[in-house]
Structure formats: C-alpha cells, structure tokens
C-alpha cells in the first residue's frame, strides 16, 4: 500500500501544504482545462516543464511522483502504442519492411521465453520490457529467411500518430501529476470540506452539499475499520477451509461470497447504529450546523488563484492566436 502515491495523503511541509483546499481544487481544475487547450508540441512541453517547476517549488520529490506513476505506466504505454498503430495521417516518419516467417515465429517465441525468465530474475521490469519490444522490432525487421507464414508488410509510424500519442501521453502525465500533488498535500477531510464549500451554490438546485460532504467524511473515517474487518473475516473463513489463494473458479466464487456477505451485513448494522448515535446527539439532516473546522484564505491562496487564472488566460490566448 505504501507505494501507491496516487491518492494518498503524506504529511509534510511546504508551500502546497499550506494552501486552502479550495484554492488547490480550483487551481488544478483551471490548469487541467488549460492543458487541454494547448495545441502544439512546444506548448505542451512548456506545460510539462511548468508542472515540474511547480513540483520543485512545492518541494515534492519528483522521484516519488515517478514511482507513483508506475501503476499507470501500462495504461500510458498502451495508449501510446494504440495511437501509433491506428493513426495514419501525415508523412511516414518510420517505414520498416517487416516479415513473418517460420523462423520469425521461432525467434519471437525464443525472445518471449528469454524475457519471462529474465523477468523473474532481474527487477528492472520496464527496462526489460523495452528491450523485449526492441527485440521484437528487430526480429520482425530482419529475420526474413524461411517459409513465409504471412506476407511481408510495411510497418509505418506516421507523423500524426506520433504527435497524437505524444499529446495524449503528456496530457495524461500533467493531469496525473497535478492530481497527485493535490491529494498528496491535502488531507482527505480538508479536501472534502473544500469541495463542500465550493459546491455550496448547488444548494439552489437542490443538491445538499453538506450532507454529501458528511457522507464522504464518514466513509473516509471507516476505511481503516473496513480493512480490518475484511481481514478478520478472511481469517475466520480461512479457518473453515476457504483458502483465498487456492481453489477452482467455482470455489473462488463461494469464497468471495463468504467475504462479501458478512461485510455487507456488518455495514448495514453499523449504519443503523451510527444513525441512532447521530440522531441521539441531535443531528438533523439539512439543518444548520456550526463547524469546528474552518478554512481560511491567506495571501498564498490569492497569489495561487491569480496564477492559475493567468495560466488559463494564456492558454486561451495561445489557442486564439
């Protein structure tokens, strides 16, 4: 759990920790919109650089953020490849004749086996993967002897495809970096309260932002409890032979049910008891309440908000020009 940086609050000091959550939410939103308005590669690169500069200002370890990106690396790579293969506009930047013969297949299988073996021994998974990908590329390009299984074909990477994939990937990177900074530096409860205050105007259309925020903060409070319970239930069922790591598919279904049913029932009992406790302490949904926790704006917030609006303005200007 510790390596999942995305979404997890880690206490610390620094500029971003001191900002009001509302400022951070608005800033992230404005910057994300700006990022989508940018049109050229150069602008996007500047955007990425700005994001990195923000990390430095906030004294947030870039290494940590990169490590935190690992889970979605696969998504990024997939998106990249997807765009490259499907997009056929513009000039072909790379044009490679490729073959698929009996020997190609043989070499591919060999490369695959070597990759899997090495993957178990060496830890540099992504480097290995890239080496494997490069190997596949070379094999397809140069192993041209032997009987053809499929006709030779040309593998092309087009300019538009490359550009598009670059755009998508860099945009994703910026957005994820921004969100990570947001959740990294903001306590979940502060985030909830920030959202609640920002959504206050929606009361006019009937959306009870306060109750919504209360639901979220109560859910957050119970997350560790629920993890703990899940663990206890698994141990109790494991004692009855429900080994959650072994078993056929049919058994696995039963095992999952033996975990979920108690969790749901306990959750229902809990909600009733909690509702009683809240009501006995005079909680009435929708009624006015004072708050122990308050949010305060400071100078930093004003500067940050102005800065975000400037970025948006710049993006709009660039788009219009």
């Amino acid at each position: 759990m510790k390596s999942i940086i995305i979404g997890q609050y880690i206490p610390g000091k620094g500029l971003f920790y001191r900002l009001d959550p509302r400022t951070k939410i608005i800033a992230v939103l404005l910057i994300m919109i700006s990022v989508f308005l940018l049109e050229t590669i150069e602008q996007l690169l500047i955007g990425l650089a700005t994001a990195i500069v923000l990390l430095l200002i906030g004294k947030i370890s870039i290494l940590k953020v990169i490590k935190g990106l690992k889970p979605i690396m696969i998504l990024l790579i997939f998106t990249f490849i997807f765009q490259i293969i499907l997009n056929r506009e513009g000039e072909a930047l790379v044009s490679q004749q490729m073959y698929f013969t009996v020997y190609t297949l043989l070499f591919l299988i060999l490369a695959f086996i070597v990759w899997r073996i090495l993957a178990k021994l060496i830890r540099y998974r992504f480097t290995l993967f890239f080496l494997f990908a490069a190997g596949v590329f070379l094999i397809l390009s140069y192993v041209d002897f032997g009987a053809n299984i499929a006709n030779p074909f040309t593998f092309n990477i087009y300019r538009a495809g490359l550009e598009m994939s670059f755009f998508v990937v860099v945009r994703l990177l910026i957005i994820i970096t921004l969100s990570t900074v947001l959740t990294l530096t903001t306590k979940p409860t502060d985030l909830t309260q920030g959202l609640e205050k920002l959504m206050h105007p929606m009361k006019k259309i009937g959306f009870d932002s306060e109750s919504f925020a209360l639901i979220i903060s109560i859910s957050l409070r119970y997350i560790p409890t629920i993890f703990d319970e899940a663990n206890k239930i698994m141990l109790a069922q494991a004692s009855r032979g429900a080994d959650f790591s072994e078993g056929k598919l049919k058994d696995k279904l039963r095992q999952v049910i033996s975990l979920l049913v108690p969790m749901f029932i306990i959750a229902f009992m809990r909600s009733e008891e909690l509702a009683n406790a809240m009501e006995s302490r005079n909680f009435v949904p929708g009624e006015k309440r004072t708050r122990i926790n308050e949010l305060y704006f400071s100078h930093g917030d004003i500067i940050a908000t102005i800065f975000s609006f400037l970025i948006l303005a710049l993006a709009i200007v660039l788009k219009v020009i």
Binding site: K232, L235, A236, S239, R240, G241, D243, S258, I265, I266
Partner: protein
Amino acid sequence: MGIRFNEVSYGYSSFAQGLYTAIKDINLEITEKNEFIALVGHTGSGKSTLAKHMNALIFPTSGTLEIFGRTITNKRNKKIKYNDIRKKVGLVFQFPEYQLFEETVEKDIMFGPMNFKITKEEAKKLAKQSLNLVGLDDSYLQRNPYNLSGGEKKRVSIAGILAMDPDILVLDEPTSGLDPAGKRILMDLFKNINETTGKTIVIITHDMDLVYQYFNRVLVMNDGHLVFDGKTDALFQKEDLIDYHLDYPNTIKVLKYLNQELNLNMNVFQKTNSEALAEIKRAVKL
C-alpha cells in the same frame, strides 16, 4: 504429533507502532489427544496471535512450528498444503458475525466440511449432528443465522467448526457475551467432547472462575511471553498473580477477604460456591 512451538516469535511493522513483536520466543507443546487447556493473559499479551499460529493462519517471523508433522517456518513451503492443517486444527474466532454468511444455519455449517471435499449429503448429516451437539435442535437448521440471538449465533459458529471434525479445537472466548447459564452449557459441552472423543481443546478466556473450575492445565501469556505453563491449582496458589495482570477466581478472593477481615484460617482454594460454603461452615464450627 500435535503442535509444537520452537522459539517462535511473531512481529510485524505497523504504521502506528513501527516494529512490534506480538509473541516472543514461545516454546510450547500441545499433544493431539485428551488435553484441556486454558489460554489466558491481558489484552495485547499475544493470546490471539498464538492461537492463529496453531492452524497456520499466520507464520512465525522466527523459530519453527510443527503441526501434525508439518514444519511451518516464516517462508511459505509450496509442498505443504496449509489448508489441510485447518481441517486438523479448528479455530473458532470470538465474533460470529465475521463467520456467518449463508442463508440458512444448515448451509453455513456445511460450508466448512464442503471446503474439505466432503459430499453434500455427508455434510448435511454433519451439520445436523454438530448443531445438536451445541445444544440447538433441528428447528434451527432452516433459520437465517442473522436472525438468531447473540448466544445462538455463537453456538452456530462453533458448530461450523465442529462439523469439520478437527483433531484439535481452539476457541477464542467462546463464552463471552453469554449469560451464566449459557456459559455453563457450553463449557460442559466442551468438557464432554474432550472426555468422550479425546479431542484436545484449547480455550482463550478472561473468566478466571471458568479456568479454575474446568481446566487442569493453563497457559499464561504476558507481554508476548509465555510466562506460565502448568497446573491451574499451582497458578492460583501464586501470591503475585498481579505481575501477570491476572485476577484470582472469585471464590478464592472472597475467602481470602474473610480470612483477612475475621482472622480466620480457611482453605481458600475452593472451586465452587458449595465447596466455599462448606468451608465457611466448617470454619465457623471451630
């Protein structure tokens, strides 16, 4: 055979406490037949952790554990089917809500045996048998476990493990939350199983009166160490039980008070109220 602990320690790192050792250097032998053992200790002394090792739910951080011939170390051994151990050593947890999940009591009790490849027909028979064994009649079979009272749920959860026919039975506070009559019914049941089938039973409890009345052998955990492994009578004869964060059984406490206040010299080691009463009458006659 049975269970043998060799210098077993178990520790884990938690966010709040850093590296925390729950049990330290445990050496313990539990034979697979005829033993009736009480496991006591203050909260956090490691009783539950010790119990979870007994059916290989958790592995030791250091030291080795032998359960029915299989050696358990801190590494998972692919040759050992740990699930088999759970059939031989049945562990019943304290809260039935974490275990009951089926629509009927019958189906829930059948869950355990069927996980161990017992046929449906055979499992049904076992369910009925175990249910009756814990003092509930057949009318309970088709009822929803969650509509039962706390005491009834407890008994159904115990039946669920009994139905697996384990050789050793380990129960974590099986009598907590029951009224006095319910406690006695269950304790008599366990004693009966132990005496008629010869199964070894280990019970974690806080109730010193039950320990005194039903158990010959008691294990005391204190701050992760096994500080006492011996006869119950010997334990309560110690003067310094408070060092173990334990209390004396009520009969002993009351008789000690009377001795102290009235300058009597009664034998305080009486297990039941009637025995204590007889001792008081005897002392007064003098």
